[in-house]
């Protein structure tokens, strides 16, 4: 995972609450065998509508999503995070997230920033007034900035530290690599191995 400190990119207002993971990525895409290439599946149903925010040229290249209350509810599918990430989103700002979605995001390096509802509305207003405006999410000093709006955001210390260090779960475990290697040197020779084949 890349280290995250400051993310700056076009803000995309998603003026909906209770965006569940089925809306983020419909079930039919779960049959795929890859972990990448889900950009086409993101908000697939909504994207049929030419008016949908991502279909508007000013927002199509967005990297920071600003959504309403309770983003990422429903099924635990990690694919929802993959789809957002593959589309190019690096951060989602919302007043509240579903727990599992937030956990999955942390694992995949997608920053989820919690701000008060009033801040979401203020950012939406900025983006309405000037579509294409950039939003900055600063993990170092925990602030979001968009035009004249500046607000602190919430993120737990552990996730913030992991994102700033660029550590996923595997990366964290690999900090113990010396201990793993040491453990392996004591592994009894009669314990099973799968190779050679016979």
């Amino acid at each position: 995972m890349d280290k995250l400190t400051v993310i700056t990119g076009v803000g995309v207002p998603l003026k909906r609450t209770n965006v569940d993971t089925d809306q983020i990525i419909p079930a039919e895409f779960l049959k795929r065998v890859t972990k990448t290439g889900f950009e086409d599946a993101l908000f697939q149903r909504w994207r049929q509508d030419p008016e949908f925010v991502l279909n508007q040229p000013a927002f199509a290249q967005g990297t920071v999503l600003i959504a309403g209350l309770d983003f990422g509810t429903g099924s635990s599918r990690e694919h929802a995070v993959w789809a957002l990430r593959d589309y190019g989103f690096q951060a989602v700002i919302a007043p509240r997230f579903a727990d599992i979605f937030r956990g999955n995001s942390g694992k995949q390096g997608l920053l989820t920033a919690v701000v008060p509802e009033s801040v979401v509305e203020a950012i939406w207003a900025e983006l309405d007034a000037a579509p294409g405006t950039e939003v900055t999410v600063n993990l170092v000093d925990r602030t979001v900035t968009c035009g004249s709006v500046i607000s602190p955001f919430d993120i737990d210390d552990y996730t913030r530290w992991r994102l700033m260090e660029g550590l996923d779960d595997i990366g964290l475990t690999l900090r113990h690599e010396a201990a793993i290697t040491e453990f392996e040197t004591h592994r009894e020779s009669w314990r099973p191995t799968t190779l050679p084949a016979r």
Binding site: M1, D169, I170, T173, S189, T194
Partner: protein, 475 residues
């Protein structure tokens, strides 16, 4: 913890695999001895490794097989369903790229992942086993700590050969007494699940103990541990003993010579110490058990075959009552109807619960020389290509075919119908598999979980039947 304090079997295996001890509520880091891989839950894990530029840390502790999507009729033709075909082709490409040994269709060690590990002698006492599959609990029959994991964890194990885990709680399931003829390991575990419920084992490792468990063969113990997950448990375990060692001796990946002796010496220490405390305990009287069958849509909704379909009105818990009502509706059953009056359309003899050689032998011994009931389809699906060949050497294929059944190639088959072996809407099966969820064996299909003995008797009579009905001549 005091090192000399009495410990359970599960604690001993855990302690022997702790690479890092978690502090401040962090999980322990546990070493994984054996990682089993199949086509359904591995593709994203390999993709994740590729994305991060990571290798598989220990290809020599990893093994893959094709099972969920494989056809059981014509294994040389191209797989018709493109999704199934892609999953299998992806596994082949990933195994080649990451240097993992794969047993493909046509290979003698191809088959259901939980049948293949033990038959190769890879599943051994005191090891840790994981697989992206909930029925990994099967391997606990050898006194291993074996549990299913999700795809992110599959990637984690591929990359690090470890998992961050919090210790599980332990539950003793004491099964004392002697099973009557016709009653089997499957009936023990169905009775356990009916007793503690499908959530009763949540967060626990179940240790199956007692004289009835000691008397079981390895195949029987595997049946029991396989279905621990249906009680919600993380894993099931049986302490290894001479039965375990006799099963392993001489298998391809079992230790040999002096290594065998060293291993057995260690394996003999793998039992729960006198005075060790379990977090919970359950008692089952083996003498009282009868052949069991499920009537509903979860494995906890079961009764003895001699019973009637329960009346939801008699169930006090409102949620369970509602669930029973829904289940009867789906299953097309009426409260009070004798279980034995229920006709079936299909008998499925297979799955990682009951597709090993001993299961096939038991089944064949009952149907031998008899005729399949009119209008019933019988699928016999060995758990692995090796089991199929062994069975054929004993003439089991001929017995099945002369009976009127279909002798198929190895795989998961109708256990979950990811391949073409499926029930059609409304069809009813007696199945030796492990899940009777709505639509599990095909959309609208109705499943009754049974032992191989009950499956055989049912195939003969055409209605759900116990082997006792045959001996009594109550036809």
């Amino acid at each position: 913890m005091n090192d000399s304090a009495p410990r359970t079997l599960a604690q001993k295996v855990w302690d022997a695999h702790r690479v890092v001890t978690g502090t401040n509520g962090e999980p322990d880091l546990i070493y994984i001895d054996l990682h089993l891989v199949h086509e359904v839950t591995s593709p994203q894990a390999f993709d994740g490794l590729r994305q991060a530029g990571r290798p598989v840390r220990r290809p020599d502790l990893t093994i893959a097989t094709e099972d969920h999507n494989t056809p059981t009729l014509n294994i040389t033709a191209q797989i018709a369903d493109p999704v199934s075909r892609t999953q299998i082709e992806t596994l082949r490409a990933n195994a080649a790229e990451f240097g993992i040994r794969l047993h493909s269709l046509g290979d003698i060690e191809q088959g259901i992942v939980h049948v293949v590990g033990p038959q190769l002698g890879l599943t051994q006492p005191g090891i840790t086993v994981v697989c992206g599959d909930s029925h990994t609990s099967t391997h606990g029959a050898f006194g291993a700590m074996a549990f299913g994991i999700g795809t992110s964890e599959v990637e984690h194990v591929l990359a690090t050969q470890t998992l961050p885990l919090k210790p599980f709680k332990t539950m003793a399931i004491n099964v004392e007494g002697t099973l009557r003829p016709g009653v089997s390991a499957k009936d023990i575990i169905l009775a356990v699940i009916a007793k503690i419920g499908t959530g009763g084992g949540q967060g626990y490792v179940l240790e199956f103990r007692g004289s009835a468990i000691r008397a079981l063969s390895m195949d029987g113990r595997m049946t029991i541990c396989n279905m621990s997950i249906e009680a919600g448990a993380r894993a099931g375990m049986v302490a290894p003993d001479d039965t375990t060692f006799a099963y392993l001796k001489g298998r391809a990946h079992a230790p040999h010579g002096a290594e065998w002796d060293a291993a057995v010496e260690y394996w003999r220490t793998l039992h729960t110490d006198e005075g060790a405390q379990f977090d919970a305990e359950v008692f089952i009287d083996a003498d009282a058990l009868e052949p069991f069958v499920t009537w509903g849509t979860n494995p906890g909704q079961g009764v003895s075959l001699s019973d009637n379909v329960p009346n939801p009105a008699d169930i006090t818990d409102p949620n369970e009552r509602a669930a029973a009502e829904r289940a009867l509706e789906y299953m097309g059953l009426t409260a009070g109807q004798p279980m034995k009056s229920i006709p079936v359309d299909v008998v499925f003899m297979g799955s990682c619960t009951n597709s090993r050689i001993e299961d096939l032998r038991t089944f064949a011994s009952i149907i031998k020389g008899k005729k399949l009931a009119d209008g019933v389809q019988l699928l016999v699906v060995p758990g692995s290509a090796r089991v199929r060949i062994e069975a054929e050497a004993e003439g089991i294929d001929t017995i099945v075919e002369e009976f009127g059944g279909e002798w198929r190639f190895a795989g998961c088959s109708m256990c979950l119908g990811m391949n073409p072996d499926q029930l059609t809407p409304g069809q009813r099966s007696a199945s030796t598999s492990n899940r009777n969820f709505e639509g599990r064996q095909g959309k609208g299909g109705r499943t009754h979980l049974v032992s191989p003995q009950v499956a055989a008797a049912t195939a003969i009579r055409g209605t759900l039947s116990s082997p006792w009905d045959l001996e009594n001549g109550a036809n």
